[in-house]
Symmetry: C2
Subunit: 388 residues, 2 copies
């Protein structure tokens, strides 16, 4: 077997631009418009809007329309905003994906044009997969509308759809053209969605930034009281840690083993599946984080004070740590193999042993993990009965 | 609007491995098996086989099975080969894509496992899109089975499906783990598929390598007489030029403007669509190359001897330069805008003015292009009537 003389490496570099602002379409609208360069005339923009966000902020289409009018030398809306359903259902089949691909085709959005997507993580995942694959990639501006997506997935480089009953079975790595976190989009969230990004904040604090954990503990009351300034600070810091992991972590497309930002996620994903997504990702990550902290206490020498401390913090932030599915231990434990298979290769699970200190383990002691699940369950049940 | 402190660049590098051999599964089978590293035990491999190739070479499953048995310490076939339909139909809906994604899921192919796909360009495109997006990318070994795919698309970094009537509307850039051009797969091709890679060879010779054009002219009779040694040399050289463009051209994912290897392709793609893919890609590229050479003669100072010379060469190689769809000039000319839109941004069409010399034009004179189409049509009709 002969190698071609011209064999070599394929190297590609993208700029990862994440911005924070308030009122992106009002006073500061020029900054947003300037993120959409075009080599001839105004940039063509297909606007995609999460139905749930539209219900909460019904004046958004008028704001968008005023924005594109004001900046007509820079941007041109290619037709009315495309309104798409949000929530996990957006990812469960290809209806939404097809809607966006068809609009890209019919409205003549080319590789140098833009899709501007406003919505929660599920919409951004479905729309993002469409934008990443139509014409093999048109430019995507993400405007995440939830604390979870602004802090976590919305600033990352992934997209995905569920298929054949498996979460994110189909998707791609595709850096967006830009991400704009407009925190005014967060004001109208339900309490559940308002808090959802905070369990990811606790997770990334445990992995990377002990001072963020302190801040979360000390601002929990303000956060629960919906203080937007504090939320903006927490979301921005969490997003920064996430982006830093992507741009400086050395493996943005996960071609190698490491993925330390998935702490607590093997069980979180499985609990979501088990509850038919009745349990939100934010609430699931809170529970998943506690399970793995309990395991780290039992097996890896973490202090029991740490899991106490984190459980208290999560409770103060408003997370219900109770979930009936924790009783189905066998099914929950299947999440470990699912997690391994989705990442590929041999098992590698990141475990936090102290704030800012983590280890990758390649083996899970199942008896001990059952014990960790039971401890987590007991804690959640106690809390639920105290509350009730 | 505030940039995140951690903003930066996302850089990813893939090794692009293209190999040539004969009898990949026999004597040299260890070389193929060694292309599939695995960090624990034998590599799991999902084999996907083009139905048309299987009909032509019915002993392939036995060869594959003997190969995986012989190299069982290195590879393990995850179930029987998946047999999939070939030809453009493979790309026209998502049946084949879904079949492969489902098999990846059900047979537990993870990101560190392999899909080994044997087939023509359409199968590699559909299977490649499935492999590139299942789990956001499992490792793909391509074994192109046609001269066209071995010389051109099979050694590239793209995949794709047709959608909403548009060719390759959905797809991705995804470097395969490796490409193995086993020229024994070419022996059983029909004459049409045997010659199909040669119009791409003429095209790339015109763009990049005048000596390859000489070689094609001087070996045309041997090539038409199905001399495998000569074909292997031409296919390998064409693939080398293609790979060199990808790894050294500076823009493997086409994020910028340049795509000089698409010479003659705006009309080729349109003619394929217009004939409902009755005209093969190889035959369409032969005609498309001539159209743009005629245009270069009329508008850009290319010598008329060059288009004569290339027409003669293509005829000697067996290409029928006749196509009724050339009569529908208006519809054919729509291909220019389609081409622009698929690449994005403003129009950029590469035109060859002498062997090895090309220019990018940003405007096409439509009257002159009509003239070029008519000249090409006349040449094809003359030839057809001489032959008839």
């Amino acid at each position: 077997m002969q190698e071609l003389a011209s064999n070599g490496s394929v190297s590609v570099t993208w700029r990862h631009r994440v911005h924070t602002c308030r009122h992106a379409f009002a006073d500061e609208g020029g900054a947003l418009a300037n993120l959409l360069p075009c080599d001839s005339g105004p940039a063509q923009v297909l606007i995609v809007l999460d139905e749930g966000l539209l219900r909460a902020q019904p004046d958004l289409p008028a704001q968008l329309s005023a924005w594109s009018d004001t900046h007509r030398s820079l941007v041109h809306a290619a037709g009315a905003p495309l309104i798409v359903p949000g929530g996990e259902q957006a990812k469960n089949d290809r209806t939404e994906f097809d809607l966006v691909v068809r609009a890209i085709h019919e409205r003549h959005i080319c590789r140098r044009s833009y899709v501007l997507a406003l919505g929660g993580g599920a919409v951004l995942d479905a729309v993002g997969f469409a934008a990443a694959t139509a014409h093999r990639g048109v430019r995507l501006i993400r405007m995440p509308s939830t604390t979870l997506s602004q802090a976590d997935a919305g600033v990352g480089v992934k997209n995905g759809l569920n298929a054949f009953g498996a979460k994110n079975l189909v998707g791609s790595f595709a850096p967006p053209w830009a991400v704009v976190n407009d925190t005014m989009l967060l004001c109208t969230l339900s309490d559940r969605d308002w808090r959802a990004g905070l369990s990811e904040a606790v997770k990334v604090a445990l992995l990377k930034d002990p001072s963020l954990l302190f801040e979360l503990e000390h601002t929990a009351t303000a956060l629960r009281g919906r203080d937007l300034d504090v939320m903006e600070r927490i979301v921005t810091r969490t997003a920064e840690l996430h982006v830093s992991h992507i741009v400086a972590g050395g493996d943005p497309f996960e071609l190698e083993r490491a993925r330390p930002l998935d702490f607590g996620h093997w069980s979180a994903h499985q609990l979501e599946q088990m509850t038919g997504f009745g349990l939100s990702h934010g609430d699931a990550v809170a529970i998943g984080t506690l399970i793995d902290l309990q395991y780290a206490t039992l097996m890896l020498g973490a202090s029991s004070e740490l899991s106490q401390r984190v459980a208290n913090c999560l409770e103060s932030l408003g997370f219900p740590l109770h979930c009936d599915a924790l009783g189905e231990e066998d099914r929950l434990l299947e999440g470990i193999e699912r997690f391994r298979e989705h990442l590929g290769g041999s098992l590698a699970i990141t475990m936090v042993t102290a704030p800012g200190v983590s280890d990758e383990v390649s083996h899970i002691d199942l008896d001990c993990m059952r014990q960790a699940i039971r401890l987590t369950r007991r804690r959640g049940d106690d809390r639920a009965s105290r509350a009730g």
